[in-house]
């Protein structure tokens, strides 16, 4: 750190030649080139990336009320066999969603209503 150090007594610094730019900016390097070179040189973008809002895993079904009933072992087993069969259809891609116990109850109810309608009740 020696050599052409300016003297501190040489305080008359001439700034008159420095003025705001009047001309248009010179042709610029395309920003994508700047980004590429910077990225390759280990000077990446540090701007925060907005995290996409997570898609809800479960669509709202409105099934919020609990049904608690005593049934026979046989009816219980049969009910779960049907659920398992539906799950197998989902696994093989035959149906597009995984059914819930509530949905099976609702479908059973719809079947009963159809039956009652047919019987004219």
């Amino acid at each position: 750190m020696s050599g052409s150090r300016p003297s501190i007594f040489d305080s008359e610094v001439d700034l008159t030649s420095f003025r705001p730019k009047t001309s248009q900016s010179p042709a610029t390097v395309p920003p994508e080139t700047v980004r590429r070179i910077a990225d390759e040189s280990g000077f990446p973008s540090r701007a925060p990336v907005p995290t996409p809002t997570k898609a809800k895993r479960h669509p709202k079904t409105g099934r919020t009320v609990l049904l608690n009933a005593r049934i026979t072992q046989r009816a219980h087993d049969r009910f779960h066999e049907i659920v398992a069969a539906e799950h197998a259809r989902y696994e093989t891609g035959e149906i597009m969603h995984r059914v819930t116990l509530g949905e099976i109850v609702e479908r059973a109810l719809q079947a009963l209503e159809r039956e009652m309608k047919e019987e004219g009740r």
């Binding site: 750190m1 020696s2 050599g3 610094v13 705001p20 000077f43 540090r46």
Partner: protein, 231 residues
């Protein structure tokens, strides 16, 4: 007219301090200056909100990677000097600022670790120069040096840089309480109260030397001559 960027891939190298010292020394001579505070921590913007900022000096904060170039171009048409204080990290912001700079100053402390970070920025400048086929004038500024003693590590770093023909500013910014004080009290070195801060005249002299050397470099628009001797 000139745009001067302060770049370092490491925090605490003295970018904001040297940017504010250069800007205030220029503005006190009546010329118009804008500091673009591109550091997300906005240290210069915080300084500017304290009393004592010279009238011809404007500070702009809140720039992003997308807006930096436009902000530099707009301010270059409004004020004589544009000074960009970048974040102390290797980011694309540094690259954007460099494409618009008439001079890049790389402040570094005189330690091996800091020197390595300075070299990283210098290599990045070289890569950009080759890619854009355009010269990006730059110089290393040693900061937080001891005015009385020059440690061997610093001497060895300087010798290394000279060997590589890396331009080093002849003026080093010494470790001065006054440089910290302007960030505490706001304003300029000459506005500090001597009963609160030690050795203000020495700090002013050092800051003036730095400003004068930068102005000389800009006037010549050439790289400074590598120093002839390393004591």
């Amino acid at each position: 007219m000139p745009t001067i960027s302060f770049a370092s891939s490491k925090g605490g190298a003295g970018k904001s301090t040297s940017a504010v010292l250069l800007a205030t020394e220029l503005a006190q001579r009546g010329t118009t200056v804008t500091i673009i505070d591109a550091d997300p921590n906005q240290p210069v913007l915080r300084w500017s909100r304290k009393p004592g900022k010279p009238e011809p000096l404007t500070v702009i904060g809140g720039v992003s990677e997308e807006t930096l170039i436009d902000v530099i171009d707009d301010t270059a048409r409004a004020t004589a000097f544009v000074i960009v204080d970048l974040e102390g990290t290797a980011s694309v912001m540094v690259a954007h600022a460099m494409t618009r700079s008439d001079l890049v100053i790389i402040p570094t402390k005189g330690s091996e670790l800091d020197g390595i970070e300075a070299v990283k920025v210098i290599q990045f400048i070289g890569r950009q120069e080759r890619a854009y086929n355009r010269k990006i004038p730059y110089a290393v500024l040693f900061t937080q040096t001891n005015p009385a003693v020059r440690p061997r590590t610093l001497k060895s770093l300087e010798a290394d840089m000279l060997k590589q023909r890396i331009p080093v500013l002849g003026t080093a910014l010494h470790e001065r309480d006054a440089y910290r004080a302007i960030f505490s009290f706001g304003g300029t070195l000459s506005g500090l109260k001597p009963d609160l801060v030690r050795n203000i005249p020495a700090a002013i002299g050092n800051a003036r030397e730095f400003m004068a050397e930068v102005v000389t470099m800009l006037t010549r628009q050439t790289e400074p001559m590598p120093q002839a001797e390393v004591a």
